[in-house]
């Protein structure tokens, strides 16, 4: 126990200074360990981050000098009807996709936690959507979501259930967001399921056996054993999913680029359009940084959860 070892170190009579012993002090050892990665992250993340904050306070066109304008960029966002659409879209996209991944991921993990043939092969195959480069898999989805080639439309039309061409998955503003969410779930589900599966396997079978003896049903066991024990894993994976989904870029940029009529425009794509295509770095930074408050809440939750252990 560190708590025991540490006081022992300090209460001892102070011997001649020893580097080895100094390095053993909890604070020194810890900082020697976390120092290099912190410096690394500070340089490659901290610097750009603060630079981004500074940018958002400037009127800074591409390839030109910037001018300090205070919060004008944020005020401009506030009055931009497209911006509010972006806010709503991003939340819908993140919340719906995350819930779907969570529910189906847990379900799939429970299914895979059973014993069956070709278990490893199945698990590896299910990871495929996560492995393939997103830009390329999204291009395949472009065909799958094209009404003229989509299997769904093809099946429905062949069965004479609907008239061709059938639903327009990306062209209908009401369906487009749903289609993107499905592609996002397709890509994110495997990692969810596999990580949750790993969590499931840490639960001792003894617990279930004991519960069975006490007469607990499947649901009771799930509710009172599985869920509580899985909470930490579910929490971490969900946080990650939220962060990645919230800032998703590639998938939307390839499939719709925010169309039709901005109905799938999210923070990352809008910021990119404004900063890159519009050449307005300051405003782009402001849009990107408005993601922060929403994310920060979740980060705060995470920081609390991940605070150093109190042995």
């Amino acid at each position: 126990m560190t708590a025991i070892v540490a006081p022992a170190d300090t209460t001892r009579r102070r011997p001649a200074f020893s580097l080895a012993r100094w390095l053993e002090r909890p604070g020194v050892f810890s900082w020697m360990m976390v120092g290099p990665p912190i410096i690394f992250l500070g340089m490659l993340v901290g610097y750009p981050f603060f630079y981004g904050i500074w940018l958002s306070l400037l009127n800074r066109p591409v390839a030109a000098e910037g001018k300090f304008i205070g919060l004008d960029n944020y005020i401009a966002d506030w009055h931009d009807p497209a911006f509010w659409q972006v806010v709503i879209n991003t939340f819908v996209y993140t919340i719906v996709a995350t819930i779907l991944k969570m529910v189906f991921g847990l379900g799939l993990a429970l299914v895979m936690n059973q014993d069956f043939r070709f278990k490893n092969l199945t698990r590896a195959l299910l990871l495929l959507p996560f492995i393939v480069p997103t830009v390329l898999s999204t291009i395949a989805w472009q065909w799958i979501l094209d009404p003229a080639f989509s299997v769904i439309n093809w099946t429905l039309v062949t069965l004479h259930l609907i008239a061709p061409p059938g639903p327009s998955w990306l062209g209908n503003p009401d369906l487009a967001m749903g289609s993107l969410i499905i592609v996002n779930v397709w890509r994110g589900l495997p990692f969810y399921a596999i990580t949750l599966l790993a969590g499931l396997q840490t639960i001792s079978p003894d617990l279930y056996e004991a519960a069975t003896i006490d007469g607990a049903g499947t649901w009771t066991k799930f509710r009172y054993i599985t869920l509580p024990l899985m909470k930490p894993v579910i929490f971490i994976v969900t946080m990650f999913s939220v962060i990645f989904t919230f800032a998703d870029f590639q998938l939307i940029y390839v499939l719709t680029r925010g169309g039709p009529a901005n109905s799938t425009q999210v923070f990352a794509t809008y910021a990119f359009d404004v900063a890159m295509n519009g050449g307005q770095f300051g405003q782009g930074a402001a849009i990107a940084l408005t993601m922060v408050p929403a994310l920060a809440l979740m980060i705060a939750a995470m920081a609390i959860y991940l605070r150093p252990s109190k042995s």
Partner: protein, 428 residues
């Protein structure tokens, strides 16, 4: 092709002359001459076009001057990102293709090439006036426009004939009429209304203009989007979408209409020459029944979309003169001509000298692309280029105004929202 060998021979002579001139021009050039320069280009739709630069032009130039020209290819969608990082950091390629309004966007990081532009213009029979819309910033040429990639009507002659049309409809109203008939026959239209980079602007801005609508007056300040003309263009667009097109168009990007046309889903779209080109390669039967025509005319005339491709020199280039010399050399008829020829009119010259170039005779169906150059404008026309204008395009303000109306919003509300966005952008 007989012309090539003749030209390449001439080419050699010219190169020789240039090399001599360079060495005569004084020690400054010789001493400072860089070993290599890099030209960045979008990955051309026509692969031999890129190959010609790499294997012929760059090689010839290196032989003549000792300067190696690297040719760096980037996909169309990524070119702007690369140009931005290059200009921002002052490092990277020495020269690049710039399109659209980029000459304005990167103005301060590009060098003035007015002098060679004048020479090239004189040598090439004069520039098309509208080329300057895209490359002249504050009276200075910031890039040398080498081509327009026109956006025109691509249509199926067989299906139009079936519906009783031998020729492409001349007015937007006739187009609507034709489209209704064709859709009834199972051959709808498909025009991009989504967030692509070209095929949406390619017809929506010309449509707006030909009804007399515009975003901003020529003064670049007065917002005039809220007009009866705009309303009429929107009403027309909504009818065209609902009565002639496939529903999917609203979500399309630039690849979508090529795919739809080649898979015979649609009978007409607005696109560059890439559809016919690919059809000739992979679908020879279909290629026989494809034709290309200028955009229809409206109450206020006929318009097209200016899709300028121009070469610009970054100001971080160590030897600006060497880069200018190269562009000057590249634009000489004996080098530029054969380069255009490989791409057979996919790239339409902005120099009048090429108005009757032999490449136009290869396929007369391409001629409308030449005739459309003069009536082409940049989005935002007639206002001059401005930061605000660039932002309007990046935010798809005008595209989404049409798209919203097609998706069910009232004309009044669609215009009101566009006006609100324009006001905010122009005020900033």
């Amino acid at each position: 092709m007989a012309g090539v060998s003749r030209q390449s021979r001439r080419d050699l002579l010219k190169v020789g002359a240039l090399g001599a001139a360079a060495s005569l021009a004084g020690p400054s050039i010789v001493r400072a001459a860089p070993k290599a320069m890099t030209m960045m280009h979008e990955s051309s739709f026509i692969p031999p076009y890129d190959a010609f630069f790499k294997n012929k032009l760059a090689v010839a130039y290196e032989k003549a001057t000792g300067i190696k020209i690297n040719y760096e290819v980037v996909s169309v969608g990524s070119l702007l990102t690369r140009v931005t990082t290059t200009a921002e950091n002052g490092s990277g390629p020495d020269m690049s293709t710039v399109g659209f309004n980029w000459a304005y966007l990167f103005d301060e990081k590009l060098i003035d090439v007015s002098d060679i532009a004048a020479e090239i213009g004189k040598e090439g029979g004069g520039w098309y006036d509208n080329a300057q819309e895209a490359v002249v910033v504050n009276g200075k040429w910031k890039a040398i426009p080498y081509a327009n990639i026109g956006q025109l009507m691509n249509w199926r002659t067989d299906w139009f004939k079936e519906a009783g049309y031998e020729k492409f409809p001349d007015t937007w109203d006739e187009l609507l009429e034709a489209g209704i008939k064709l859709k009834k026959n199972g051959h709808p239209f498909g025009f991009e209304l989504g967030h692509g980079f070209g095929d949406n602007h390619g017809w929506l801005y010309p449509l707006l203009w030909s009804y007399g609508g515009r975003e901003v007056e020529a003064d670049g300040k007065t917002i005039v989007i809220d007009s009866d003309e705009t309303a009429r263009a929107i009403d027309y667009c909504r009818r065209l979408y609902k009565e002639t097109m496939v529903e999917d168009c609203l979500g399309w990007t630039d690849v979508s209409n090529n795919k739809a046309f080649l898979s015979e889903q649609i009978s007409c779209t607005n696109n560059a020459e890439s559809i016919l080109w690919l059809a000739k390669k992979d679908f020879p039967e279909m290629a026989k029944v494809i034709d290309q025509s200028q955009n229809p005319t409206g109450p206020k005339g006929r318009f097209h979309f200016l899709n300028v491709q121009a070469h610009a020199i970054f100001s971080h280039t160590p030897d600006k003169q060497a880069a200018k010399d190269f562009l000057r050399w590249l634009m000489k008829p004996e080098n530029l001509g054969p380069w255009y020829d490989v791409a057979v009119t996919y790239y339409q010259p902005f120099l009048h000298k090429y108005d009757d170039a032999p490449m136009w005779n290869v396929d007369k169906r391409n001629i409308p692309y030449r005739d459309a150059v003069a009536s082409a404008h940049l989005p935002g026309w007639p206002a001059p280029l401005s930061r605000a204008q660039v932002e309007v395009i990046a935010k798809f303000v005008v595209i989404d105004m049409f798209a919203q109306a097609c998706a069910g919003k009232s004309t009044k509300d669609a215009i009101a929202e566009a006006k609100q966005k324009l006001t905010a952008i122009y005020k900033a």
